[in-house]
Subunit: 440 residues, 2 copies
């Protein structure tokens, strides 16, 4: 963390901030609300433009809206194109035009193109700053073009080539340097360089970067024309968001960000909680059908949390393992399901067996006036086995079913499913109890 | 996915596999057990060595152990140093020497160095293939050294410089290309290039790559000597593992990998499940102290799943949001806790209010012979508010407390805590019930 004394005069501040990275400038800007104007004065609008996209979303929007039009225009000028696109998407669609009209024609057209891609496609996250040359030129020509077009803002680790207009491959700068001027580009360009299509899913593009160990992945359209690149750094940001999404999905959160107001975040989490209340009333209704069994065997109530908890635990394990598999690897459905169900059977059986022994021991040792403690222990054990297995079965199959239906497999997690599992577990518990304790 | 007809003669197979990426070779090797020898014959040991590290861990170990010594030696020769280190760590420590002695002296020393770093430090994941030059040389000298030392296997997007022996900065290859031969390196090398210390945490190194948007992060030792680099691609792999760890932590899994045997994985998940059984017996014991209240108000049982479920839901939300914050951002503890508790109060109150209304409506409409349905509804409502708030409080505070104690904050999730929350929720429920229904 950087410590800056903002009481210094601007000239000294300028010196102190000279080599601070944009992302650290952003932190300073966020943390020192009272010195924001002074900070901008010290670093200049250009560097502030570079730092701006590192600010939290809320602050970006609020700060931008307060600026006068010429300041807005000035600020936007210093955004890179992909950042500009991300920035515009922070605003409601009806305001986009308002921002776009402040851009120069060329930049506006490129951003409009980026905005036109679907949100979860490779095209939408690609950056249009890349070098793209004719493969029929010479090493010497390409080298001098690289030197001429190289700009401080762009990261160019790999340059790309087309034949006619179609993408043919990539060449690492490092290989261009060691190439002799007389070499034909066709001989050194890697024609098997991996690429993604603009409408491929983001996740699949990220997986390509990871699997093929490239630092830049080119994105081409359906005519095989290069339209953008995704760098490994971009992929890191995407993975971070993705990771957060997955964990939030598991617990039915929608916005973990510290930036939005607590009240707003509270309202985002509430629907799920309330839905869960309603679902639990369905469970209560269902339980009333067993009121005779419960009335005459109140001891069953003691072990209700155990049945619910164990079914819940094994269920979330199965869901998580299945979602992780679907997300990060190409798992083979039948093999995965078979293996997971095998694990579920083993673990349910062992837990049930331990349950019987421990419940019997507990009832035997505790002073109480319940008869049939052996039968109660059996009820708990059998219910554990069955409810755990059912819960695991749901957890393993549901993500696949959702994916098959075209839905997001992550919807399999969350309070709704856990309530459904509660429902099944209690149904099994009291059904087994009714059969063993009442009818026998 | 690549489709290869393995019935083809080796010469044709060689042609078909010519441009297949190592990671795809690995998939083919995994999926076509009966053609493994033929595949190796077609691609040669060198390319097999490159593909080997993409195989699943289990297969790497099993396959390696079956090889004769000279084949082992040959295979190891084609591993990159950081991969070699990862590979060796798949084996138990007592076997490491066995592998190390098959390496040439220079490679052995470098790998031993890598193995010496703690598992979660930047040093342990760094790769020792980098270019490191004296900053007092000329652009021309450096360029010719890059050309000479450049090797197909290394990714060199950034080269690094030392003055004497200490690290002074980095220079992107792209900037080297555009530099005029007469320029002093001191003027073009970025002396603010971000770096990590070898004993920094992996997570902090990854965050640097992400925040500073660099494709390579140099790792230096405490004498400021460059000892390795971490690329953005490496960071992607680490983030993937990290992501999996976090989700597994949330559900107390330890190995989601498809690769180990189901029985082994079953045994890894079992301890938590069994611990949960035991903890639930503690809950049962606790519940017996309320047996009078339960006996005379069996209707309470109907709403027990609601209390448990709601406290559980809000608790996992709080834990997840706190762990995500601690992991991905530098959250300010007091601010985060204050905000989260505000959200918890709002959501508990609203859920409790809805609970009262819905339970009252339910009891009013359902045919039953319970008296005091207004009091029962109050008990459920008050218990919801209190138990949800307590559960959220634990979820927000525990990760901070664990971190303060030097433990992993992810331990806050998992079955133990959910059982503790169950315990608190039921205690509150039956205590409130005893006060309102029995003593009043």
């Amino acid at each position: 963390m950087i410590d800056i004394n903002f009481e210094l005069p601007v000239s000294k501040l300028k010196e102190a901030l000279k080599n601070v990275h944009p992302s650290d400038i952003a932190v300073l800007f966020e943390d020192n609300a009272e010195y924001r104007e002074k900070l901008i004065e010290a670093i200049g609008i250009r560097r502030f433009g570079e730092a701006f996209i590192y600010l939290n979303d809320d602050l970006q929007v609020r700060y931008y809206l307060k600026l006068e039009e010429n300041k807005k225009r000035e600020l936007l000028k210093h955004f890179e194109l992909d950042d500009l696109k991300t920035f515009i998407e922070l605003f409601r669609v009806s305001y986009h035009e308002e921002i776009l009209r402040l851009l120069g024609k060329e930049r506006r057209e490129k951003v409009v193109k980026l905005l036109s891609y679907d949100g979860d496609t490779a095209g939408s996250i690609s950056s249009p700053s890349f070098m793209y040359f004719d493969i029929n030129s010479t090493v010497k020509e390409v080298t001098s073009k690289v030197i001429k077009e190289s700009d401080d803002n762009d990261e160019i680790d790999v340059i790309f080539f087309h034949d006619d207009v179609r993408f043919v491959g990539g060449l690492r700068l490092q290989d261009l340097i060691i190439a002799r001027e007389s070499m034909a580009l066709y001989d050194i360009v890697d024609e098997n360089y991996p690429y993604a299509y603009a409408d491929d899913l983001v996740a699949s593009a990220v997986r390509k970067i990871r699997n093929y160990d490239v630092s830049v992945l080119p994105v081409i359209d359906d005519k095989k024309v290069l339209v953008g690149i995704i760098t490994a750094d971009d992929a890191l940001d995407i993975m971070k968001e993705d990771h957060i999404d997955a964990v939030e999905g598991l617990v039915a959160l929608h916005d973990h960000s510290d930036a939005s107001s607590p009240l707003k975040r509270s309202m985002q989490r509430l629907p799920w909680l309330l839905m869960s209340v309603v679902l639990n009333i369905v469970i209560a209704t269902f339980l009333t059908t067993f009121s005779d069994t419960i009335d005459s065997n109140v001891v069953l109530v003691m072990f209700q949390p155990m049945i619910l908890g164990m079914a819940g635990n094994i269920g979330t394990q199965s869901i998580a393992v299945t979602i992780l598999g679907l997300h990060h690897e190409k798992i083979k459905p039948m093999r995965h399901i078979r293996k997971e169900l095998f694990i579920a059977i083993i673990n349910s059986l062992i837990s049930g067996l331990v349950g019987v022994l421990i419940v019997f021991g507990f009832l035997y040792l505790m002073p109480n006036d319940y008869a049939d403690i052996d039968k109660v222990a059996m009820v708990v054990g059998i219910s554990l086995v069955l409810s755990m297995f059912v819960s695991a079965l749901v957890g393993v199959l549901l993500p696949f079913i959702l994916r098959k239906l075209g839905a997001d497999e992550k919807a399999a997690s969350g309070p709704i499913i856990s309530t459904v599992n509660d429902f099944a577990a209690l149904g099994i518990y009291f059904l087994v109890a009714t059969i063993l304790l009442i009818n026998m």
